[in-house]
Symmetry: C2
Subunit: 331 residues, 2 copies
């Protein structure tokens, strides 16, 4: 490997379409970027059979795979030869600056903390996800790394989200809001209220107060801060509504000739809207607060989504995002 290049470890065995689509994504990535090298971790023979012949693609053999149903922390601890663990060990040792996986979210979070390690000053990591809204694409964090949070955790999420929005999502002066049960100051629980007080002390943060569930849809914030419990429920609810509507609409349209004809005429509009609200289109989800660029790709990722997640990891490393995080010791 050339010392000048950005090195990204890519878990070849994680996700529904591993290893073929992961390998195809790796090829796309080295074709697109001249400055990266990719180390595919996983079953050497299987990876080779996918045809990854490129001088900037390497293979690190891993004999084990972490199953999505395994207890995340136990799996990361015990399966030392798993493709995910080996990718993360590379980041820990500095042999790679980042890693990408479409495997179990829980295992990626556990590995981020237990193997890659937290950034100095960061108490808990946050998984961010770019969510498409009517006006823009916002970043929501945390959506599943830290179930319940202290006000200080939420403050740190705000700082990490602000930096990510600015550096990776190219928002000039991102507005940060806290997800709450109403926008009035009397709303919120003790945690959200405590976070509000801490965030308001940071002059550098463009803080907009609380955001309600319905405003999330309209994009009334660039960064939406919440605990992992709420974030996870909100994200899955949104996904579920979109999938449910799609399924119902398909069933209903089948029943009527008129509706079928109408659907043909409306197809371009429906496809456009569907694509716009499919958050999987918007690249990978960063695990923020760990000592490297750890990017989670969706479990259903095909090669374009893998390329997108690798691009995010590359930008994260290129922009030196982690070096710019300023966490004061307080709160």
């Amino acid at each position: 490997m050339s010392g000048k290049n950005i090195v990204i470890a890519l878990d070849a065995m994680g996700g529904d379409n591993a290893p073929s689509e992961i390998c195809a994504g790796a090829l796309k990535a080295v074709e697109k970027y001249n400055d990266i090298e990719i180390v595919l971790t996983g079953d050497k023979e299987k990876i080779k059979s996918c045809g990854v012949d490129n001088p900037r693609i390497h293979i690190e053999h891993a004999s084990e795979i972490i199953d999505p149903d395994e207890h995340p922390a136990n799996a990361i601890r015990k399966k030392k030869n798993s493709s995910l663990r080996i990718a993360m060990e590379m980041v820990r040792r500095g042999d790679a600056q980042g890693c990408v996986s479409a495997g179990s979210t829980g295992a990626i979070v556990a590995g981020g903390v237990l193997v890659v390690g937290r950034l100095p000053g960061v108490d808990r990591p946050a998984l961010g996800v770019p969510i498409p809204s009517i006006e823009k694409v916002s970043l929501m964090l945390d959506v599943g790394a830290t179930v319940r949070c202290t006000p200080k955790n939420l403050l740190q999420f705000a700082l990490m989200g602000e930096l990510y929005s600015r550096k990776i999502m190219n928002v000039a002066n991102p507005e940060i809001k806290l997800l709450s049960n109403g926008t009035e100051e009397i709303k919120g629980d003790d945690t959200v209220l405590g976070a509000r007080e801490l965030i308001e002390q940071y002059e550098k943060i463009n803080f907009g107060g609380y955001i309600e569930g319905n405003e999330v849809v309209w994009g009334h914030a660039d960064v939406i801060v919440c605990d992992g419990f709420n974030g996870n429920i909100a994200l899955k609810l949104g996904e579920g509504i979109m999938q449910g509507l799609k399924s119902l609409l398909t069933d209903e349209v089948k029943k009527s000739f008129m509706a079928k004809a109408g659907m043909v005429l409306m197809a371009p509009v429906v496809k456009k809207l569907w694509k716009r609200f499919n958050y999987e289109q918007y690249g990978g989800s960063p695990l923020l607060g760990v000592n490297g660029a750890v990017i989670k790709a969706h479990g259903r990722s095909k090669s374009p989504a893998i390329l997108s997640a690798v691009s995010v990891a590359r930008n994260f490393i290129y922009e030196k995002v982690n070096d710019q995080l300023e966490i004061r010791n307080e709160g």
Copy 2:
């Protein structure tokens, strides 16, 4: 008033369409049900001018109105002559068995606790809302009465929700689930886990474990139990997505002649789906755990929605729901 009849106090001044649509709803209700009398609370002259001439409709003058922007508890305490407070005082005194309002949710919750009073054994009230899903209409509670909950609060919500689902929503053996960030037992935070342990001890409860955000959409539970913080965010997010899609679709369709023609052909299907998922269609939202039938109608309610909320209050009283709540002293 006849002692045999069910008496419902109806806040004539609450909601976007007060008092005209509230009064029209009252008329519809006494026409539909022979066994109810309605007491409209509010400005006597304004109510009279709406034409509510019926021997089973009465007026109780109230000189004040609680504004949606007022601090709920302060407003309920100070505005003793408000239409909502007077309606709730009637329930407290036993002059009415229930009350209905399309006014401020916060004030209704505050009044439920401070004026009507909690049921013996109930620690905190819960606002339930019937939510339409793909397979059924589920009851979600709490959606805004009790922001953060103890495990015992959630257990009580499960018991109240079970009873309401059975008696008012006519579900034979309702399945109860806890809203969580995953369905596996290792998911959930301490509160949800604690609630799970308490609920599992109740053999009478048909308990199905955790439910995720996406499963809510499919209707994988009859009763979904959560704290008011999560419930409020989830409800508003769902509302927001539906409104957002409607608005985007309308805008996009305008841009294309083909899509416009397609929309005309698809209109019956779209209207059918829209109606099905418009949760305002599904009657009022019960404030459970208070000593009377307190039903919140949506702020945008027109007369059919008011009729629907009054019907729910009538059924709640008729079925003696509160008398059947069995809360053990434990947890």
